[in-house]
Symmetry: C2
Subunit: 433 residues, 2 copies
């Protein structure tokens, strides 16, 4: 059998007991005949503790040094995991991102993987050892400095390694049983999605679902690497994230006549509480004014999400432009826009961080008309006002008042028959870094 890459997040290795538990699962996989490569995050709150220390010594710590500091976290967890595996009689060796050949650019704190040259991993695995690799970290191509990959970095490390090693599967272990049709904390009857395409997962991730990070899914899609998201607390099958083609194959497996499983029109309902809305009121409706605003924001490295421009009032020749953006960028965006006031000549700026976004995601949208209408009606029936709308081929998103997110999510979930007969999910949380 081939190579299995397993990734364990911080909550799966939060203390000695959980490290020993994870070690047993790894050894079981190895004994089942697989070659196993493990990617591990820092233990529990280690990263936050290290960040606190950094801010105790410097209000604005240097990026290179911050990466050097934070990578100590995975160094600790990976060495402990290797020891725990060794204690079960199975050979194991730990490797830093640099040793594992994870080559990145030099953007400290959010480096991108340029290449993976896992020669030492292949060697260790070839000698019968389990290789444990530090997630979230790499080494820069130019300066040979230690880098970190930013949020979702360990998942990305796992998928990148799996692709480089031509693994059969990349298993992402988390504290839930897979990807659900909605956040079970909001919709207790949310169902586990057995299989979902990369494209749908990307839309879910980009629109607030926290199980898999965008970059990791993008990497998997580019390399056609199957991801199996599952719980480290059970042995249940979780959610398979695969290509649309492979998804059809899986759904049609069985006796070859009827599909084993109907492909759902809608995969799930994602929500996002991390955005804010800015409205630029009274912009002169001339060619280039809107472009000037968005150019300036782009120069300030601010990523906009949804953008709506009202039809201008003929009488005044003025229009309003609204857009959403990460709340973390709100202050910078407002300052940047304030400096444009005289140049653009708008009337005023409005900032609203009391908004939330609901997204309906499903590949079936392409071939099923009327999905939007049904979605908007479900939300309206729940008494929720829609402030903005944006769509892609397989997603519809609406911005609503933050207080009404839960109602809107539940209503949409019910309207598209996503509710399970029983409550499946027990725990729910982010997958850490």
């Amino acid at each position: 059998m081939g190579i299995v890459v397993q990734k364990y997040g911080g909550s799966s290795v939060s203390d000695a007991a959980s490290i020993k538990r994870v070690a047993q699962r790894i050894v079981a996989t190895k004994k089942a005949g697989h070659d196993v490569v493990v990617v591990v995050s820092a233990m529990g709150d280690t990263t936050d503790e290290l960040l606190d220390l950094a801010h105790d010594v410097s209000p604005l710590p240097d990026g290179r040094e911050l990466d050097m500091l934070l990578t100590a976290g995975e160094r600790i967890s990976m060495a402990l995991l290797a020891m725990a595996i060794g204690n079960l009689g199975q050979q194991a060796q730990s490797f830093t991102g640099s040793q594992a050949g994870v080559i990145t650019d030099s953007e400290h704190g959010k480096a991108k993987i340029i290449d993976v040259s896992p020669g030492r991993i292949t060697k260790a695995v070839g000698e019968g050892a389990v290789a444990i690799v530090a997630g979230f970290q790499g080494v820069s191509q130019d300066s040979k400095d230690i880098t970190t990959l930013g949020r979702g970095g360990s998942d990305t490390t796992a998928v990148a390694l799996a692709a480089a090693l031509e693994a059969d599967v990349c298993e992402i272990y988390t504290d839930v049983d897979g990807i659900f049709t909605a956040d079970p904390r909001i919709v207790p009857t949310a169902r586990r999605i057995p299989v979902i395409s990369y494209e749908e997962t990307l839309e879910m991730a980009a629109n607030g679902a926290k199980i898999l990070h965008l970059r990791c899914v993008e990497y998997a899609r580019r390399n056609n690497m199957p991801i199996h998201v599952r719980s480290s607390f059970s042995s249940k099958v979780g959610t398979w994230v695969v290509s649309a083609e492979r998804m059809s194959e899986i759904l049609n497996e069985g006796d070859g006549e009827a599909p084993v499983m109907e492909q759902a029109i809608i995969s799930g309902v994602a929500h996002d509480r991390s955005e804010a809305k800015i409205t630029v009121v009274g912009v002169p409706d001339k060619v280039g004014e809107a472009a000037r605003i968005f150019e300036t924001l782009a120069d300030a490295q601010i990523n906009l999400d949804m953008i709506v421009q009202n039809v201008s009032a003929a009488a005044t020749g003025l229009t309003d432009i609204s857009f959403t953006l990460p709340r973390a960028d709100g202050q910078t965006a407002m300052t940047t826009l304030a400096r444009l006031k005289d140049e653009v000549g708008y009337a005023q700026l409005q900032y609203d961080d009391g908004v939330g976004k609901i997204s309906l995601v499903g590949a079936g949208m392409r071939t099923n008309p009327g999905i939007s209408a049904k979605f908007f009606k479900a939300i309206a029936d729940a008494g929720v006002n829609i402030e903005m709308i944006s769509t892609s081929e397989i997603r519809i998103s609406v911005v609503v008042n933050e207080q009404q997110i839960d109602d809107a999510v539940s209503a949409a979930h019910r309207a598209f028959d996503l509710d399970s007969d029983e409550v499946e999910a027990v725990v729910y949380g982010g997958s850490g870094r």
Copy 2:
């Protein structure tokens, strides 16, 4: 001006406040015109905490993985120190042992430095940065695995780097003002030794003085690298450890006529509570029997210190052999010897861990007869019985009852006029790793 290498132990960087304090001292040295390379240990108790974690997951952790784990400690302290220096407006970069070019053999947990290729350090310093290097760690020449140097490792890193960089001096910062004529906890009137030779320091270190580790001093002697042992809590001059030639020069500096300072006949009194004594009673006094015993112990990797063989009783043809060894090796030695009983035919084994060793160290012994007699008399006058004696050219050691170590040290210190008029030392402790 040239390069100054400074080493700060764990107690000097135990928390954010002390890291900031050390950063200020480093920046001051840099501002005084020196190029500065800093070697740093792990913060306070970090190493012990990591060891505890290791033993929580495995009773006998793998050496390679233990080294991987422990090196996280310096990674944290060095990154924080670099940030703290950066916060004072001075550029600083941290480097792991591997990045600093500390090449070792593959003996995990007690690796030896084979070579130091500090290209990246030279480059960083050349660009005006302070280079912060992780002490205690390196990378193995053969397998490129992370190694640790064992006890005293950070001091050794500092001296090795200083030698490779052809630094002017290697400053070892600790929590006392230098090397003292005796442990100030026992002899409150002990004096700081202003200058001492490598040879004397080696004898002090080998015989229980805990300020500098043997390997570090050996490395300095081999490379003729001056060490300045001083306190990180004051700016006082500490103890200079230099070659005998340089020592004479320093003592004779001034107007060139009379020496500025008289070279002391005796440098200090060291003591050691870490040894045990084993006596093999009734060994047949035949050629080869003693050799057989010592060969077997050597094969078991046990380092003996002092050895005494009694004159055999003519009537019986039997003799007793006593030796001292580290208490940590006591159990292994007794088991090893027990297996030899039939072969060698000795009568019995005696184990005594209630012993201690007092050593008088001084280069002046060579040219001053009567030192031994005066030493033994002082100890006898203090009512202390001498159990064993061993000497080198510049040292006399005696084994006494552990309970009487303090009395013996004080008596010897007084007899050789080492007492200061006032109490100088305030704090005292080991220099960490």
